[in-house]
Every structure is written in C-alpha cells, then in structure tokens.
C-alpha cells in the first residue's frame, strides 16, 4: 500500500499530525480508451486510486453532479485532494509528474521535449485516424448504424503513411521519445488496443518495429491489468454496455 505524499497538517487542536491522504478518485467507465489512458498511468505510477464507475448509457456524465466536476460532461475525471482534473492527457501528466516523473523526463530538456512531441503525434496524427475506424468497425454494428466503409478505407490509407513515420522512428530508437519508455508510448495504448482487435491489425503488424514496440507495451504489467477491463467489443457483446 502506498502512503501518498503524507501531509504535515496543523489541526485545530494545534498539534501537528501526519495524515495519509485519501486515495485519488477516477470517475468513468473502464472500457473508455480515454479512461484507460489514465488507468495505465495510475498503474505505472503505483499510485493508490479508487475507480468510481459511471454509466454512459445511463447518462451519468450529463447529470449536474458530474457537470460540477467536468463542465464539458465527459470522462475521465480525476479528483486528487482539492484538484479536480479532466482531459485524459492532462490527468496523465499530473499523475506522472506527481508519482513517476521519469515517465515525463521533466529533468531533461531534450528528452522531455521528445516525450511531448510524440504525445502530440498520437493526439493529432494517429488517434484521429484510428478512432473513426474503431467507431465504425466495432461500435456501429452494435448500435445499428452502418459502417462507413469509404471512411474506413480512407483512414487505413492515411494510417499506412503515418505508420511509415513510426516505423522509421522506432527503427532508430527503442521507444518513441528515445531509448526509454515514457508517457509518449503509454498514451498510445488505449486506442490502439481497440484498433488491434479489428481485422486491420495486420496493417500495423506489417511494420516490424511498430509491431515489436506494440508487443513490448502489451507485455507491461500495467497494460495487462488495464486491458483486462477492456473487452474488444467495449462490453456490447456480453451485455455490459458502458
């Protein structure tokens, strides 16, 4: 059990006591790739946390109680003492900055810059391509909508070009930001997890260094643990709709 940043607090009786801070709370549904992005960081950091499950189909995220935490009405939300945070990458950075700063490389200007570059590459280059594939191929069949195959096909073509860049990068460095694992690698896991459950996984596997990097991610205990809460169909098949 981790004692997290035990607090030196003066109480009203004027004697000081060390208290154990309450564990952080993470609100959301574990199948969400945004949620899983944060869960992986919590697990990597070995931080103590409580997962507060919410129901997407029940509209919990649109209720006033949740809007008070996140006015954008989304998950995940992290409560850490007085701090209430949203946006998965901001939450991830906070957790790592507090508990495992080596995954951000904050003490090294060049390395931290490379971490930031590849976190943003995932956000602005890769995720916008794979997210619509996951949505069309996995989710739409369950919600009775038609897969937009033209969109999927176009996304796969874009993906190949993007993966060429990743392949070149991972041919010259073990991980994305350098020869050290970092948030840049971890942040990729959650959306890729679902993409790799589709028939298009072979597109990624055609790039040997990307494939090896992906398999190395999958081998991490943090990733294995979080993946256990991420059935490849988001729970739709078993009736555990988020």
């Amino acid at each position: 059990m981790n004692y997290i940043n035990a607090h030196f607090v003066a109480n009203t009786d004027s004697h000081n006591s060390l208290i154990k801070m309450a564990p952080m709370k993470l609100y959301g549904w574990a199948v969400s790739p945004w949620m899983a992005r944060v869960l992986v960081c919590l697990e990597e950091a070995g931080a103590e946390y409580e997962l507060v499950p919410m129901s997407r189909s029940g509209g919990d995220h649109r209720q006033p109680e949740h809007l008070a935490r996140n006015p954008f009405g989304e998950i995940p939300v992290l409560e850490d003492g007085d701090l209430t945070l949203y946006q998965s990458r901001a939450i991830a950075r906070h957790i790592l900055r507090k508990y495992k700063p080596e995954l951000l490389r904050s003490d090294n200007l060049q390395e931290s810059a490379m971490v930031d570059v590849w976190v943003d590459v995932d956000a602005h280059q890769l995720e916008p391509i794979i997210r619509p594939v996951v949505f069309n191929v996995i989710i739409k069949p369950f919600t009775g909508s038609d897969c937009d195959q033209d969109l999927v096909d176009g996304s796969i073509e874009k993906l190949k070009k993007t993966l060429e860049v990743y392949e070149a990068r991972l041919s010259s460095s073990k991980y994305l930001a350098g020869d050290f694992v970092s948030l840049a690698d971890l942040t990729h896991f959650s959306f890729m997890r679902y993409f790799m459950a589709t028939q298009y996984a072979e597109v990624v596997e055609a790039y040997p260094h990307v494939k090896a990097w992906w398999e190395a991610l999958l081998a991490r205990p943090s990733v294995k643990k979080v993946m256990a809460g991420m059935p490849p169909d988001f729970g739709f098949g078993s009736g555990n709709i988020p």
Binding site: P71, F72, D82, L83, L85, Y86, Q87, S88, R89, A90, R93, H94, R97, K98, S106, L109, Q110, S112, A113, M114, D116, V117, V119, D120, V121, A123, H124, Q125, T162, V165, A168, R169
Partner: protein
C-alpha cells in the same frame, strides 16, 4: 549562441503559436519560410525536420522538434524565468490546471472554432473552395456551448489556469485571431468575460506583433 529556428511562414496559425511563445520569453529566433507552392514541405530536407511534412518544425542546436504545442512547451520550459513562467511546472496544482486548459484548447475549443476559420477564410482564399455553411453552422453551435464553459471559468479566474497567464492562454491566440476576421466574431459579445480575456491578451506585445503576420491576402 545561434538563434533558434522556426520553419514555416509566420502567416500560419500553428507557426504563430510557436512565435508567440518565443516573443513572450524574449529569445532571438529566425523564421525560415517553407514554400508550399513548390511543395517544399514534402521534400526530403523538410521531412528530415518534420517527418509528417507539415509546419512548423523547430531547431535549437542539435534538437529538432515538431508539433506546435510540444514546441511551445519546450520553449516555455527552457526559457522559463521567475517573471515568465508559463508552464508552472514547479507547482503541481498550477501545472495541472495549465495542462487541463491546454488540452481543452486542443480538443474542445479548437475543434469547434478552427472549422469556422477554415471554412470562412482558409478554404476560400487559399484553395478556392467555397464555404460549407452546414459545417460552419454546426461548429458555431458547438462553439457556443464551449464558450459557456469558458465564460463560467473566466468570470471566476483572470486567466484560464488561474490568476496567472500561462501557455494555455497563449495557445488560443492564433486561431482566435483569425476567427475575429470571420462574420462570427460577434459571438464573443455574448460572453463578456471571454471577450474581456481575449481583449486583454491582444494587448500583450507578443500578440500584437505576431498578429500582424496573420492577416495576409493569401494564406
């Protein structure tokens, strides 16, 4: 020390995002234009800087970076002083709020606002593509909801991350600047705290200087 280099013309929003940071920290820099008409951005020399063949790219000595928000973080981190501390990485709570609102800019605000800029200005002037009014109307609806959240935030805090200016505020600058050239600029009138925040930002020397390059006849 050789000045840092920014690759990409100052008239582009993502380049401007980086330039504003350089102006704020007061560091010497050189802007190297990348010629789009001759597809310079897709040629090997530029791909070696930015393998995605887009702009900006950024060079500081041996270090070559891309992704404008990552470049911004590097600049603000390296050239941080007690007076100019836009990331607040020495304070967990403040740094977290900077990160939240930097992500909000990228994933909530820009998602709603950038399409209006693209449809109203960029596509017609640079590509001769007519405005898709449906996209604009949907984006305006989204933007109104986002601005409601911003109004609540900025009515309680002077700046987005708290009572201090940060990279979160700076990051809004380039696209918002161009948005103010569209017919939808008056949207901000319904959100007085947001409008006041924007007007205060535009008084900053960095913003005044960089905005002069963001109003070309051709993008």
């Amino acid at each position: 020390m050789a000045p840092v280099k920014v690759f990409g013309s100052a008239r582009f929003t993502n380049v401007a995002r980086v330039l504003v940071c350089l102006e704020e920290v007061g560091v010497a820099y050189e802007v190297v234009d990348i010629d789009f008409p001759t597809k310079e951005h897709k040629k090997p020399e530029h791909l070696a800087r930015n393998p995605f063949g887009v702009i900006p790219a950024f060079q500081d000595g041996d270090l070559m970076l891309f992704e404008s928000r990552a470049i911004a973080k590097y600049i603000l981190r390296k050239y941080r002083t007690d007076e100019v501390d836009m990331l607040r990485e020495g304070n967990l709570q403040e740094a977290a709020m900077v990160d939240v609102w930097t992500e909000v800019e990228a994933h909530q605000y820009n998602q709603a606002l950038a399409p209006i800029v693209m449809e109203c200005i960029i596509y017609p002037t640079a590509y001769g593509i007519p405005t898709n009014q449906k996209v604009v109307d949907e984006s305006v609806d989204k933007l109104k909801k986002v601005l409601e959240v911003y109004e609540a935030r900025l009515s309680e805090h002077e700046y987005l991350a708290g009572n201090f200016i940060s990279s979160a505020d700076l990051s809004h600058f380039p696209f918002t600047c161009r948005f103010m050239e569209t017919p939808y600029a008056s949207l901000f009138d319904s959100f007085p705290s947001v409008k006041a925040w924007w007007e205060k930002l535009m008084l900053r020397p960095s913003m005044k200087k960089i905005s002069t390059n963001l109003h070309p006849k051709m993008v």
